[in-house]
Symmetry: C2
Subunit: 168 residues, 2 copies
C-alpha cells in the first residue's frame, strides 16, 4: 500500500479556529462566509468557474490527529462505522463540502455556507453538477429522520477527545 | 507547502482497464457494476453503511501522470479552467463519484453507476446526504445545456494524450 501524495492548491480562511462550535456541513453554516486563497501557480485553473453557483471543495481536515473506525457521530448517540458518517476522524481526513460561490477576485474565492476550520489546506475544487452529485430517492440508513438536524447542531470537541483518547 | 499523505483504504475493481471508453461520471455508467475491496484493517468502518442507497467514493485517479490548468473537456470544444471541469488531469487527481450501493459482503462492496478505472486506489467513502450534497437551483456555467450529455458520452484518450503532450 503505497502512500498517495497530494499538494495543497490553496488555503481556506474561515471564522472557525478550532473543532468547537463549527457548523455541521455547509447546510449548518448557511450564510457564513469563507475566503479561499488559491496559490498563484494554480490560479489559471479558476477560469470559467465564476458561472457556477455551487462548488465542491475537497480539503485536508488538518487538525485530525488519529482516526477511528467506530464513532459516535454528532447526530446520534449510537456507535456507527466511520464510513457511514461524515465525521472528520476518518482514515484519510478529506473534507467534502458543497458551498455557494459568491465571487472570484483574482486568486481569491468568496464562498458561503461553510463548515471548514480556518487554515484548512485546499486539495481540489469541482463544479457541483446535477445528475451527478444530486441523487433522487436517497435511502439514508441510520441518518433517516436525523439529517434535518444538521442546520441546528454545532460540533463540540468530541473528535478532539477522540484523538486524545486514541493516543497511547 | 507540505505534501499531504493519504493511504489507500481499498481497491476498486471495474471493467475499465484504460482511459478509453470509460463512462463520464456515474450517470454515464448507469447499471455498470464495480466491486470495491476494502482492506481488512479498515473493514470495521463499514458498519451501518448498508442502509444507504448512495455513497460518495473518493479515489486516486492513479493513471494521471501530469496535470493541466486549462483543458478541453469531453463536453465542450473550448478551453476551460480545470477547476470548472470534472476532468481527471487535476493538480490533485482525486476522483469523486456518487454510486448506488447494491450489496456489502464482508469487506466487499458491490456498487453500480460507475466511471472508475480498474485498480483505482480508494481513499474514502462517505454517505450521500440530501441538504448537503443535493443542491437546488444550480447554475452551471459553461456546462449549461451540456450536462445531459454525460449519459451518452464516453471518454476518449485525450487526457492520456494530455499527459504525453505535457512531457518535455
Amino acid at each position: 500500500m503505497n502512500p498517495i501524495n497530494f499538494i495543497p492548491i490553496g488555503i481556506i480562511h474561515t471564522p472557525f479556529l478550532s473543532h468547537e462550535g463549527v457548523p455541521i456541513q455547509g447546510s449548518g453554516g448557511k450564510g457564513i462566509k469563507a475566503t479561499i486563497e488559491i496559490y498563484p501557480e494554480f490560479a489559471a485553473g479558476l477560469k470559467d468557474l465564476e458561472g457556477f453557483s455551487h462548488i465542491i471543495l475537497l480539503y485536508h481536515m488538518h487538525l485530525v490527529e488519529k482516526y477511528a473506525l467506530i464513532v459516535k457521530p454528532f447526530l446520534d448517540d449510537k456507535n456507527r462505522g466511520i464510513f457511514s458518517t461524515r465525521s472528520p476522524v476518518r482514515p484519510n481526513p478529506i473534507g467534502l463540502t458543497t458551498v455557494r460561490l459568491i465571487e472570484i477576485r483574482d486568486n481569491l474565492l468568496i464562498v458561503e455556507d461553510i463548515d471548514m476550520i480556518d487554515q484548512s489546506p485546499l486539495i481540489d475544487i469541482k463544479p457541483c453538477l446535477p445528475m451527478i452529485d444530486n441523487i433522487q430517492e436517497l435511502r439514508l440508513g441510520w441518518l433517516t429522520g436525523k439529517v434535518e438536524q444538521f442546520s441546528q447542531k454545532k460540533s463540540d470537541n468530541r473528535f478532539k477527545s477522540y484523538s486524545d483518547s486514541l493516543e497511547e
